[in-house]
C-alpha cells in the first residue's frame, strides 16, 4: 500500500503500486480507517478523506497525534502537507478537551421504557458496530448505511439499548408503518406502546412523518411540534435525515432531546446542505459502504445499465424548439421510453420489477399497457400499503411508483428497477432508487435508467450517476436496440 497525501486532506491509496513494499513494519498497529474515511472506491486508487470524527474517536481511545503522524509518515510517499498535520493535531487535541461536553450526562432519562430486542433477533457485526458507535459516541450523531443494510434494525437496537421515550421521524406514512411493523417484530414492545400520529402522551414510542410534525393548523400554529416538544422525548430518530427539505431542518432540529440519531443512506444533497444535517443533528458516527457489504455478501450485487432511447419525430421537433425547462420535460417523457420499459418488463417477466418515474402521466400510460398498478401522490395511504404488501408477497410482478416511493420503503423482493425519469441531476435520488433493489436476497439485481439520447438528459444522467460511481458502481451504457436482441 502506498499513500499520497494531498493538502485538502485526501489520501490517495494505491495498493498495486507498492515499490518499496515497506508496510511489513506496521508496528504502530494503526490503519488508515482509524483516522480517515474512504470516499471513492476504485480498483486502482481508493481515495480516503482524513476524518475529524475518527481522529477524535482515536484520541478518546488514548492515541496521540504523534502516533497518527508517525504512521502516516511511514506509509506516505511524500511529505505530509502542513494543513493535514495541523488538522490531525487540532482535532485530536480538541477531543480530549471536549470529552465531557460531548458524552451523555449520566443523569438517567426521565422514564425507563420497558423494551428489549427479541431474543431470536441477532445483529450482524457491522450493525452491532454501528449501534456501539452511537452509544459510545457523542450525544447526537448520524449513521450512514446503504439501503438494505438495515438502518431500521440499527435504530431499533439503539432504542432498545437506551430504553428512552422515543420519537421516530420518517419521510412518509409507508415508512412509519414499516417502523411500526419492525418494532413489533424485533422488540418486546406491543401495539399499545406505539403512537402512530395518535398524539397520545402516555405511549413511550411515537412515530410521525416530518410533514405532519411541521404541519401548521388553521391559525398557522405549529401545534403538533409544540406538543411533541412538551412531551420531552429523550431520543429522537431522524430516518432518511438527508431527505429533509432545507426549511424543515431548523424546525425539527428544535426538538430538545438528550440524544438524537440521524439515519441516512446517502449524505449527498444537490443544494450542498449536507453540513446542515451534520450541524443540526450531529456528526457522522458510523459509516459503511455498499461495496463492502456487497463483498461480504450482505447485499445483492447490482448491475447498472443506462439505456439510451432515441428521441424522434414530433417529440424531437418540440424538444429542439423548447425552452430549457421544456427540454427537460420532453426528454423525460419521451414516448419511446414506454416501449423500452415494456420490453424490459418482458425480458424480466419472471422477476419482480419496480418502475419509477418523476412525471406521473407516462407512469399511468405504462400502467395501462402493463396492467400494473401505480402509486403516486394521489394514492390513498391504505391503498399504498396494500399494494406494497401485495408486491412483497408476490401477488404483483410489476409495481409502478412515482417519487413518493423514492425512499424508506422496504421492497426486498424487487430485483429489477426501471427508472423512467428523474428529478434533474439528483445524485441522491439516483442512490435512493438504486437502494430500492439493494437487498440482501442474494440474487443479482439490475437497475435500468432510461435516458433520451442526444438530449439534456445525457448530461443529467452523468451527474446523477457520479455519486454511485464514486461508491464503486459502474454503469454500462447501451443503445435501446440491445434490449430487443435479448439479454
Amino acid at each position: 500500500m502506498v499513500v499520497y497525501p494531498q493538502a485538502d486532506g485526501r489520501l490517495y491509496v494505491s495498493r498495486s503500486l507498492d515499490r518499496s513494499g515497506h508496510l511489513g513494519t506496521n508496528h504502530s498497529s494503526l490503519t488508515l480507517d482509524d483516522f480517515a474515511q474512504p470516499i471513492q472506491f476504485f480498483d486502482e486508487v481508493t481515495v480516503y478523506q482524513v476524518s475529524p470524527l475518527r481522529l477524535r474517536e482515536l484520541a478518546r481511545g488514548g492515541r496521540s497525534a504523534g502516533d497518527v503522524l508517525q504512521y502516516l509518515r511511514q506509509v506516505a510517499q511524500a511529505p505530509i502537507p502542513i494543513q493535514v498535520q495541523r488538522t490531525i493535531i487540532a482535532e485530536m487535541k480538541s477531543a480530549s478537551l471536549a470529552l465531557q461536553e460531548l458524552t451523555v450526562k449520566s443523569t438517567a432519562p426521565a422514564a425507563d421504557v420497558a423494551i428489549a430486542l427479541r431474543q431470536e433477533k441477532v445483529l450482524r457485526a457491522y450493525q452491532y458496530n454501528a449501534v456501539q458507535a452511537f452509544l459510545n459516541g457523542p450525544a447526537h450523531g448520524v449513521i450512514v448505511m446503504p439501503c438494505g443494510a438495515g438502518k431500521t434494525v440499527v435504530g431499533t437496537a439503539i432504542l432498545a439499548s437506551l430504553r428512552m421515550p422515543t420519537l421516530i421521524l420518517a419521510p412518509n406514512e409507508a415508512a412509519c408503518e414499516q417502523w411500526k411493523q419492525h418494532l413489533l417484530a424485533w422488540t418486546t414492545l406491543s401495539e399499545c406502546d406505539l403512537d402512530v400520529h395518535a398524539d397520545n402522551p402516555d405511549k413511550p414510542v411515537a412515530i410521525a412523518t416530518y410533514g405532519r410534525l411541521v404541519a401548521r393548523d388553521r391559525q398557522g400554529q405549529l401545534r403538533r411540534l409544540e406538543r411533541y416538544r412538551q412531551r420531552g422525548f429523550a431520543l429522537v430518530i431522524y430516518d432518511e435525515v438527508h431527505t429533509l427539505p432545507a426549511r424543515w431542518f431548523r424546525l425539527t432540529a428544535e426538538l430538545a432531546a438528550a440524544r438524537k440519531l440521524g439515519l441516512s443512506a446517502t449524505l449527498v444533497r444537490e443544494d450542498g446542505r449536507v453540513g446542515d444535517v451534520l450541524s443540526l443533528v450531529g456528526p457522522v458516527v458510523f459509516q459503511t459502504q455498499a461495496r463492502d457489504l456487497t463483498d461480504a455478501g450482505h447485499l445483492a450485487p447490482v448491475r447498472c445499465v443506462e439505456v439510451r432511447v432515441p428521441l424522434t419525430g414530433r417529440d424531437r421537433q418540440d424538444y429542439e424548439r423548447g425552452s430549457a425547462a421544456d427540454k427537460h420535460r420532453i426528454a423525460a417523457q419521451n414516448r419511446s421510453k414506454l416501449d423500452a420499459a415494456t420490453q424490459i418488463c418482458a425480458l424480466h417477466r419472471a422477476e419482480r420489477t419496480l418502475v419509477m418515474g418523476y412525471y406521473t402521466s407516462p407512469l399511468h400510460e405504462l400502467a395501462n399497457r402493463l396492467r400494473a398498478p401505480v402509486i403516486d401522490g394521489r394514492t390513498l395511504h391504505s391503498e399504498r400499503l396494500r399494494l406494497y404488501n401485495e408486491f412483497r408477497a408476490g401477488g404483483l410482478t410489476v409495481l409502478i411508483v412515482s417519487r413518493v416511493a423514492n425512499a424508506a420503503i422496504d421492497l426486498p423482493s424487487a430485483t429489477v428497477a426501471v427508472q423512467l425519469s428523474g428529478l434533474y441531476g439528483s445524485r441522491q435520488e439516483e442512490a435512493q432508487r438504486l437502494g430500492r433493489i439493494l437487498r440482501p436476497n442474494g440474487k443479482q439485481a439490475i437497475f435500468y435508467s432510461l435516458v433520451s439520447d442526444q438530449t439534456v438528459e445525457v448530461k443529467r444522467a452523468f451527474h446523477r450517476q457520479s455519486y454511485l460511481v464514486e461508491q464503486g458502481y459502474t454503469y454500462e451504457i447501451v443503445a435501446v436496440d440491445a434490449l430487443y436482441r435479448g439479454g
Binding site: A7, Y12, F42, E44, V469, A482, L483
Partner: protein
C-alpha cells in the same frame, strides 16, 4: 593540490618561515628535511589542533570564509580581500598566512600568481569548524510533531505555472506584472499557497519581487531567466515551447537544482555570504537542529538589508526559501515552541552532487497514471512532459503528493477547438495507465469528441 605537493613546490624561504612558525627543530637548509618535518607536524593531530587554535584566533571570519569556499585557488586580490575581513592589513596579512602552512603561492607557466589552500588543509579547516560549531548547536534525536517539508513542491508548482501560462491568455499590466486574478488562480492550483497581500516595500530579491509573493517571484524570475516565459511587447505572457521542452528533458532533480542555483545567485546580492551560510547549514544540520542555535552560528555572516533585520533575513530569506526549495525542513511540537531545522536528503543531494550525478527516480516508460471512473486522471509518477500533454484535454484539479486532473466536457471541447490531437491524448492515457481506461469514461469521451454516440453493445451479462 594536496599539502605535500604544495610543500614540494614551495621555495626554501617559505619552508623556512613555516618551520620557524611551527617551532621545528630541523636543519633549515635541507628542503627534503624541511618538507618532511612540516608534513609530520601538520599531520599530527595534536600539533595540528594547536595550530588551528592559533589560526582561528588570528583569522576568525577570514578563515571561515576560506574553509567554506567553493574553490581552493584564489587570485591575489581575492585572497587579500578575504584576509582583510579579519582586520589585517593586506601585505602583512598575506605574508603571515603564507608562513603558517595552510596557504601557498603558486606560480604557473604563464607567470600569473595564484594562491592555493591545499585540498587536505581546506578539508581539515572545514572539519575543524564543523567540530567547533557542533559543540555549540543544540540537536534532538526524536522527530518533531509537525514537520514542514515541501519536497519537490517548488518544481511541481513551477510546472503548474508554466502549464497555466501555456493554457490561458495571461495578460500583463503596463508594468509587466500578471493581473491579480491570475496570481489568485495560481495560488489555488499551487501545492504551496502564499498570501498575495504584499508588504509595502519590496526590492532586492529578484526582478519581480515587487509584484509577487516571494516564492512565486522566485519561480517566475527563474522561468524568465531561463527564457521559458516571455513578457511580450503587447502585454501578454507566453511560453517559448522550445525552451520549455529543453528544460523538461532534464531530470527532475536537475531542474530543481537549477532553481536552487538561481536562488543563490539572485539572493546573493542582498545576502553576500549566502553561499557560506548554506554551506554552514549543510555541515551542521543533518539532524534536527534548534533554529536559535543554528542562527547564532550563522549570524556573523548575516547583515541587515534595508528594512530586513538580520533575523528577518534569516527567517524569511534563507530558512523559508530553503524549505520552499525542498533543501531543508522545519519542525516544531507546538506553535509557540522552538523551531527545529534539518537539511533534507534531497537537500544534501542538491547541494553536493553535480548535475550529471543527480539520481533521478524517474524512468520515462513506466506506467504513471490512473484514469478513475469519476473522470479524474491521477498522476502517480510525476512527469512534466506527460502532464503537459494530459493538460491538453483536462484541467489540473489538485496538486500535492500526486497531481489530479479532471476531464470535463468543456476541457475536451477546449482541446479540440485548439486543434490538439485527441487520439494521441487518448493513446497516452491508455499506454501510460496502470489499468485500462474505465468503460464509462471511454464511452463519454467518445461522445464528447462526437465519434458517433453510443455503439450498440450487447446486453450479455
Amino acid at each position: 593540490m594536496r599539502l605535500s605537493e604544495c610543500l614540494n613546490h614551495a621555495s626554501i624561504s617559505t619552508l623556512q618561515a613555516i618551520a620557524q612558525n611551527l617551532h621545528l627543530s630541523c636543519t633549515m637548509y635541507s628542503k627534503l628535511d624541511l618538507v618532511q618535518s612540516i608534513l609530520e607536524s601538520l599531520r599530527n593531530p595534536l600539533s595540528l589542533a594547536e595550530q588551528l587554535d592559533q589560526w582561528h584566533e588570528e583569522w576568525d571570519v577570514s578563515l571561515r570564509r576560506i574553509a567554506l569556499h567553493r574553490r581552493n585557488v584564489f587570485a591575489k586580490e581575492e585572497i587579500e580581500h578575504l584576509l582583510a575581513s579579519a582586520g589585517h592589513d593586506t601585505v602583512n596579512g598575506l605574508q603571515k598566512a603564507l608562513a603558517q602552512g595552510w596557504l601557498f603561492l603558486q606560480n604557473d607557466s604563464s607567470r600569473r600568481r595564484f594562491y592555493i589552500v591545499p585540498t587536505d588543509m581546506q578539508m581539515a579547516l572545514r572539519d575543524d569548524f564543523q567540530r567547533r560549531w557542533r559543540a555549540r548547536v543544540e540537536v534532538r534525536t526524536d522527530d518533531p510533531l509537525v514537520q514542514m517539508d515541501e519536497g519537490m513542491a517548488a518544481l511541481h508548482d513551477l510546472h503548474t505555472f508554466l502549464q497555466y501560462v501555456q493554457q490561458r491568455e495571461v495578460r500583463l499590466t503596463a508594468s509587466g506584472a500578471m493581473y491579480k486574478r491570475h496570481v489568485q488562480q495560481l495560488m489555488e492550483l499551487f501545492e504551496i499557497e502564499e498570501s498575495i497581500e504584499l508588504p509595502q516595500w519590496r526590492f532586492g530579491y529578484g526582478r519581480r519581487t515587487y509584484d509577487y509573493p516571494d516564492r512565486l517571484a522566485l519561480l517566475y524570475d527563474f522561468a524568465y531567466d531561463e527564457g521559458i516565459v516571455i513578457e511580450r511587447q503587447d502585454e501578454r505572457l507566453t511560453v517559448d515551447p522550445t525552451r520549455l521542452s529543453e528544460f523538461l528533458t532534464l531530470g527532475r532533480k536537475t531542474q530543481l537544482r537549477r532553481l536552487l542555483r538561481f536562488y543563490v545567485r539572485t539572493y546573493r546580492r542582498p545576502i553576500p555570504r549566502l553561499h557560506d551560510i548554506i554551506e554552514t547549514i549543510r555541515l551542521l544540520a543533518d539532524a534536527w537542529t534548534s533554529n536559535t542555535s543554528l542562527y547564532a552560528i550563522c549570524a556573523p555572516q548575516i547583515q541587515a538589508f534595508y528594512y530586513d533585520q538580520p533575523t528577518d533575513v534569516w527567517d524569511q530569506r534563507i530558512v523559508k526559501m530553503l524549505v520552499h526549495l525542498g533543501v531543508a525542513r522545519i519542525g516544531y511540537d507546538d506553535d509557540s515552541g522552538e523551531r527545529w531545522f534539518q537539511i533534507t536528503k534531497l537537500g544534501q543531494e542538491l547541494l553536493t552532487q553535480d548535475e550529471a550525478d543527480l539520481p533521478d527516480e524517474l524512468t520515462y516508460q513506466q506506467a504513471a497514471l490512473v484514469v478513475q471512473p469519476n473522470f479524474e486522471i491521477v498522476v502517480m509518477v510525476p512527469d512534466a512532459r506527460m502532464e503537459a500533454q494530459i493538460a491538453e484535454f483536462a484541467e489540473l484539479k489538485s496538486s500535492g503528493a500526486l497531481r489530479v486532473y479532471r476531464i470535463l466536457d468543456r476541457t475536451v471541447e477546449r482541446g479540440l477547438s485548439l486543434g490538439r490531437d485527441f487520439e494521441a491524448w487518448r493513446a497516452l492515457l491508455a499506454t501510460r495507465g496502470m489499468a485500462p481506461i474505465p468503460v464509462n469514461v471511454d464511452r463519454m469521451l467518445a461522445e464528447w469528441v462526437g465519434r458517433g454516440g453510443i455503439q450498440a453493445a450487447g446486453l450479455g451479462s
